[in-house]
Amino acid sequence: MTDLTMIWALILAFAVFVYVVLDGFDLGIGILYPFFPEKKDRDIMMNSVAPVWDGNETWLVLGGGGLFAAFPLAYSIILPALYPPIIAMLLALIFRGVAFEFRWRAETAIGRKAWDGAFIAGSVVAAFAQGIALGALLQGIEVEGRAYAGGWWDWLTPFTVLSGVAVVAGYGFLGACWLNLKLEGEVQAHVRRRARAFGIATVAGIVAVSLATPFLEPVYFSRWFGWPEILWVSPVPVAVALLTLGLGWSLVTDGRDWLPFVLALALFGLCFVGLGVSMWPYVIPPSVTLAEAAAPESSQMFMLVGAAVLIPIILAYTAYAYWVFRGKMDPEEGYH
């Protein structure tokens, strides 16, 4: 594999990770909505992400567009293979995205409730579809020549349903940790209770998916349980266990409202590393490697020049936008 292919694999992995944690917490707000029926709570929950959700979702476009650009073969195999979940995700994101605006424009309680419903359903379905997509990629995609060769329901297995549920739980957990950071008073106490429940569900999901994954493909199994690989990879589950303890402690003790969110990000980071351990060096396990799917060097180089300059700038102004809206939410302030 060339260095350029390696760099692009890392850039894309970074983009997908940033997407997962950023849109993860704002999709999580929608996942948590059913537990907060009060209008004033829902208003402030939505306002806590209103200025940033659009930027968060842009990382999904970078993930998709980047895959198209850097690994066009992978893009053109994965998307038809995951056709129904991808379409469901896109439609769900429509409902959820417009709910940010429409919810405030509805003039009747019924109208507002309908957009609340769209926000909930859109968030849950988008998260579930992303989890399905992750699971379907891990369990392998049938390829013939340069095209997807399976049927249009191949993605649906118990394993993908499990990974779908795990991602819904995980995003709900991220959302709860975010709200714990942004809210105060009684609603924050409520959020912390939810965070504990979603945290337990998330860790259970991580454990279940992690235990099932090595049995999907022999290559995963030897990666995790082979000798001497086990020496290199065992710190990952150990770190997950330690983080879980830290998270539990931070959610039962008061103060340090930022800590659960930061630890939750670290937990997602570790899952991501674990995923990389399993999949490497494939982009579509077990048929297409990163090297096979890579765009020609002239494409990689042309993009790298821009990415090297632009991604740091994007991170800087994104951080600035978060900084502008930092701190606890003022219930008086809002939009519309």
Partner: protein, 472 residues
């Protein structure tokens, strides 16, 4: 072959792409112009301190937020649809088009999204200077976005700067030639101007409607009507010139498309007529009920009065685009273009006579033509996209060989879902926009962060609210 209602998977995928892209483009066509208008309004407010501009900014920024959100979510669909429905196209063109789209994300989408939050919610948090900067960045972002995606689209019309490797992929050889392909500058200028015209007609139409309804003396209403009519007076004639230049460029690189646009089934030996109207009969290869002016078609294409031209009869049938669609879509676009020019002149006349705000027939025409830009834009895209058929990459790759290996059932199911959900969701959005437009911009117009959502609808108005209606 598996079909759905007699349509195969490729046709269904084409319908799906046409539907989703046409729906999507309605929103950017409006918000590209509106973003710039908002930047101008905010700049004028900071410069003159005339409250009317702030009032207008606050009126339009709420409409912008809705339109922009709909543009974003319908745009994400587009960025994945290349892969879901057109995987062979993606595999083969990815090395050339992927990087251009990646640049669109990196230079435009992040810029717009990053600063949109500050533009909508941040005026009191960052101060007027940075808020102005954020507003300008959103406007710049929309234009940069259009630039990249039009470069992508134009390359598919006039591809160059590539070689083809042994697995059939287009491999970039000369990025300059790819980005600045021959039709790109023309398409960019024509499309951006169309966006500004579209917005001017909507802004002016809304203002005219308020003038008609209330004989409004509201200075904000008058200002938007006046600004919009100036914009139309300048851009409508400019657009006709740009459209003509774009047409000449198309005639050079995609002559078949121009033959379909102008309805030239037959070759002409001595002078090219200008066909004004007719009913194309592609099967028979003739124009029925033709109304045409002899000879002036030559000079329009920068040829002589007695020029010779090869018609569609010299093109193999399987390489002809569907003539009827192209012919009529082109006429709709051009017809609207000239009506726009007429309205621009009418506005100048009313202004010169000093009755711009009392000219009721002018205002009625403005209201009637408020959505005309959107219609023209869609008609224009139909002209150019249908006109390059049967190719998806002109001269190199057929549309029929670009689709994903999907069954017709799968594509049909997703098409039905898109149609139902788009009409439902975006229909609601358009209603909300119309509702916002139906209120005059009031002196105490609530704007960005001035209107606390929780409090307003709770029915109580605490003292803080008045304090929070800040000036800048």
């Amino acid at each position: 072959m598996e079909t759905f209602l007699g349509m195969d998977a490729v046709l269904l995928a084409r319908i799906q792409f046409a539907f989703t892209v046409a729906f999507h483009f309605i929103f950017p066509a409006f918000s590209i112009g509106l973003a710039s208008y908002l930047a101008v309004l905010n700049g004028l407010w900071l410069w003159t301190k005339d409250e009317v501009y702030l009032r207008l900014f606050r009126f339009w920024v709420k409409i912008f937020a809705i339109s922009f959100a709909m543009g974003v979510v319908s745009g994400i669909v587009m960025s994945y649809q290349f892969g879901t429905n057109w995987s062979v196209f993606s595999d083969r063109t990815g090395p050339v088009l992927g990087p251009l789209m990646a640049y669109e994300v990196l230079t435009a989408f992040f810029l717009e999204a990053g600063f949109l939050g500050i533009m909508l919610f941040g005026r009191s948090r960052v101060g007027p200077g940075l808020h102005m900067f954020a507003t300008a960045m959103v406007a710049v972002g929309t234009a940069i976005s259009a630039t990249w995606i039009l470069s992508v689209n134009s390359w598919m019309h006039t591809p160059q700067g590539y070689s083809i490797n042994d697995v059939g992929q287009f491999v970039p050889e000369d990025w300059w030639a790819i980005v600045f392909n021959p039709s790109f500058p023309y398409r960019l200028a024509h499309t951006l101007t169309a966006a500004y015209l579209t917005t001017a007609f909507i802004v002016g139409g809304v203002g005219a409607w308020h003038l008609l309804r209330g004989r409004s003396r509201n200075p904000a209403v008058r200002t938007m009507v006046s600004m919009a009519l100036w914009m139309i007076a300048v851009t409508a004639p400019l657009q006709i010139v740009l459209g003509h230049e774009h047409g000449l460029n198309t005639y050079e690189y995609q002559p078949t498309k121009v033959l379909a646009m102008e309805g030239h089934f037959e070759s002409h030996e001595d002078g090219i007529p200008l066909i004004l109207f007719g009913i194309p009969d592609q099967e028979a290869g003739v124009m029925r009920y033709e109304v045409s002016i002899p000879r002036i078609g030559g000079p329009i294409l920068e040829k002589g009065w007695d020029a010779q031209m090869d018609g569609l009869d010299t093109v193999p049938d399987e390489l002809e685009p569907p003539v009827g669609i192209v012919f009529f879509a082109f006429r709709i676009m051009v017809g609207i273009g000239f009506l726009m020019l007429g309205l621009g002149l009418w506005g100048l006349w009313a202004r010169w006579r000093g009755h711009l705000y009392e000219a009721r027939w002018l205002h009625r025409a403005q209201v009637l033509m408020a959505p005309s830009g959107l219609v023209a834009v869609i008609a224009g895209w139909i002209t150019t996209e249908v006109g390059r058929q049967p190719y998806v990459v002109y001269g190199e790759m057929l549309t029929a060989e670009a689709a994903s290996p999907l069954g017709a059932q799968a594509v049909a199911a997703s098409l039905v879902a898109f149609v139902v959900i788009y009409f439902l969701v975006f229909g609601a959005g358009v209603l909300y926009i119309l509702k916002l437009m139906s209120h005059e911009p009031k002196p105490d117009e609530k704007g960005e962060s001035a209107e606390p959502g929780p409090i307003r609808t709770a029915g109580t108005t605490p003292a803080q609210q008045t304090r929070k209606v800040q000036g800048a």
